[in-house]
């Protein structure tokens, strides 16, 4: 068996469990610990059944074992409120933190757009923006790498069943963080994000519309090529990332219509919004792992 980098997942909920199932298949990541706070958590029981070490004492229950188990990467799939604390504790043990919460204390990372930069910066904490951001920012970037985009707007429509209580309590955080990601990583001069929740049964597959306004008239051929190339990049880690229509052009408006189906590991297929987060988080960790395995990066406590 080739060498793998050992990892811990904090948060045994739907996201953490889906991430664990994906990580079990990784060539370069070996999930070792699952961290929760409730001894009766079904997520911890599932992890134990899969042969993973567990603690119900939160990150404090993990920290004493990190050095002996050589944990070099941690994923936080809990909530923004506790993330900073979690991150500080695992960084102090020399592990990189991949943040799947909306806390965004580290740089944003959207794998096909800026993962290489994030890894090159040796950031000890990287943030995965939002589900809507992961699904749409690659498309904004696909346009902005061809020509200047004065305005990027994304509309994410997700099934009611795939929106958890954390997102519901602070939906503004989704719109703000995604809009910021559209600007910082997507490359739009100004960004806007809209989220629509649809309760239809059977649940609808995540849909995303990306509108870009270009500064000059759009180079239709170059943008179309760039969009198709970017879709192929995302499909490497989210096979259900599908260009439904477009890019269509109307004056300086470029519109792209996407559908995102998940792999259906632990989360249902329609919840592409959640799947793209866990897949992007794992992809990010894998890139770090490759750097560590190649001896180009030694994560260390600051």
């Amino acid at each position: 068996m080739s060498k793998k980098i050992r990892a811990a997942i904090i948060g045994p909920g739907n996201i953490g469990t889906d991430l664990l199932m994906k990580a079990m298949r990784s060539e370069v990541i070996e999930p070792v610990w699952m961290v929760g706070v409730d001894p009766d958590s079904p997520g911890l029981a599932r992890a134990r059944d899969m042969g993973i070490k567990t603690t119900c004492e939160g990150v404090d229950g993990l920290v004493p074992h990190m050095r002996e188990d050589n944990i070099q990467i941690c994923f936080d799939a809990t909530s923004a409120y506790v993330h900073a604390d979690n991150s500080r504790k695992v960084n102090a043990e020399g592990a990189v933190m991949v943040d799947l919460t909306p806390a965004a204390i580290g740089p944003f990372c959207v794998p096909p757009v800026n993962l290489k930069d994030a890894v090159a910066e040796r950031a000890m904490n990287v943030n995965m923006v939002t589900c809507g951001g992961q699904a749409t920012i690659p498309m904004v970037a696909a346009v902005s790498r061809v020509q200047a985009v004065s305005y990027g707007e994304i509309v994410a429509t997700v099934s009611s069943r795939s929106v958890g209580p954390g997102t519901r309590k602070n939906i503004d955080e989704f719109t703000r963080t995604t809009a910021k990601g559209v600007e910082l990583i997507g490359g739009a001069q100004k960004g806007k994000a809209i989220i629509v929740i649809n309760p239809a049964e059977p649940p609808l597959i995540m849909r995303d519309t990306i509108h870009c306004l270009t500064v000059d008239d759009p180079d239709q051929e170059a943008i179309t090529r760039s969009v198709h190339e970017m879709v192929a990049e995302v499909q490497k880690y989210v096979p259900g990332y599908t260009l439904k229509n477009g890019p269509t052009f109307d004056g300086k408006r470029v519109s792209i219509y996407m559908e995102v189906a998940g792999l259906g590991d632990f989360l249902p297929r329609y919840a592409g919004n959640l799947d793209i987060m866990t897949a992007a988080g794992l992809r990010t960790a894998e890139m770090y792992a490759e750097e560590i395995l190649a001896g180009r990066f030694v994560p260390a406590a600051a």
Binding site: S160, K169, I194, T209, Y257
Partner: protein, 343 residues
């Protein structure tokens, strides 16, 4: 129906829902002129915002002639007795927009969600409820899509976050009077007695007046409408018509009927880009249960791809689309055009 002596408050939508048929192009000057005339007519409450609420300015819904801040500042300054409300849809607007609108001088904030998703409004309603003197309203859209029992659960959530008034909103103009009666009556029975109830209708099936009367009879004390019906789809409940009916039935509104008629005829009708009326497409909205502001988007996509707007709207209804999914319309039209071309 005996409504003699009932007191209600009417809420005019022309300068918010009316932004839809105007593609959000009403100017600040036009808004001020209309608001002042409504003030003189004694209309107690008017809504002023982008058609899709605060922060609605977008490619997806349309960029307005002026910003929400410009509209609200100008109108709030110009009116004397009339109070001004703003609409906010979580997922589009944020609490930052809410604070801005409060600073502009609104008296009322209305926080709107799809009828099954009230819990996304907790952040906004609870903040609004803490602002002293701010009338805080929860607004459940597309209320025809779930039965009364489920709707009341959602209304109670909004009440629990701090809304002092909650609305049953017939965004698609799909409801019939009995649908309104059953929903309002159950809400009146289950919610706190001090929580006000409101009804917002659309006239797509020509039921705006009848539904609003049913709402009043079942216990609603706030009724939305717009003068000359300027609103999405076939428009809102035509307010001057409703006021005349209220007058005949002895329902007290405090509005000067003839002045309201004059505002409708002299200021609103000349403003219309097209006659806001029940035509085959707006009728389809009501028949198929589709969000009223989809109308012009469907017409535009139909023209662009050589399709029938009615076919597009029927399909949007079949897919159980909800408010805000305007981006789905061109996407669907492209799918339909492709299916036609490959047939």
């Amino acid at each position: 129906m005996n409504l003699q002596g009932r007191k209600i408050q009417v809420h005019d939508m022309s300068l918010r829902d009316g932004m839809h048929p105007k593609q959000h192009q009403i100017t600040v000057e036009q808004m001020v002129e209309i608001a002042v005339a409504m003030d003189e007519a004694g209309i107690p409450l008017i809504e002023v915002t982008h058609g899709d609420g605060l922060g609605g300015a977008s490619v997806n819904y349309g960029f307005p002639a002026a910003s929400d801040q410009e509209y609200l500042t100008a109108v709030c300054k110009a009116v004397k007795k009339t109070r001004v409300s703003a609409l906010l849809l979580p997922g589009i607007g944020t609490v930052d927009h809410l604070k801005m609108a409060v600073d502009c001088g609104i008296s009322t904030i209305r926080v709107a969600t799809h009828c099954t998703e009230a819990d996304v409004s907790e952040q906004h309603i609870s903040m609004a409820a803490q602002i002293s003197g701010l009338d805080t309203v929860g607004f459940l859209m597309m209320a025809h899509m779930i039965p009364a029992e489920e709707l009341v659960v959602q209304l109670k959530l909004m009440e629990s976050y701090g809304a002092n008034c909650v609305y049953i909103t017939d965004s698609a103009g799909y409801m019939l009077p009995d649908d309104v009666t059953s929903r309002i009556a159950l809400a009146r029975k289950e919610l706190k007695p001090e929580t006000e109830l409101g009804f917002h209708g659309h006239h797509n099936l020509g039921m705006g007046i009848a539904n609003s009367l049913a709402a009043v009879e079942a216990g609603a004390t706030r009724i939305d409408g717009s003068l000359a019906g300027l609103g999405a789809g076939a428009g809102n409940t035509p307010l001057e018509v409703f006021l005349a009916v209220c007058d005949r039935m002895g329902v007290e509104t405090g509005v000067d009927l003839f002045k309201a008629m004059d505002v409708a005829e002299d200021l609103i009708v000349p403003l219309m880009d097209h006659m806001v009326r029940v035509d085959r497409d707006s009728l389809t909205l009501g028949w198929a249960g589709v969000y009223s502001s989809f109308l012009l988007f469907a017409k535009r996509s139909a023209a662009k791809y050589g399709l029938s707007a009615r076919d597009i709207l029927v399909e949007l209804g079949r897919r159980r689309t909800v408010g805000g999914q305007e981006d789905m319309i061109e996407d669907l039209a492209m799918d339909m055009a492709r299916a036609r071309d490959s047939a």
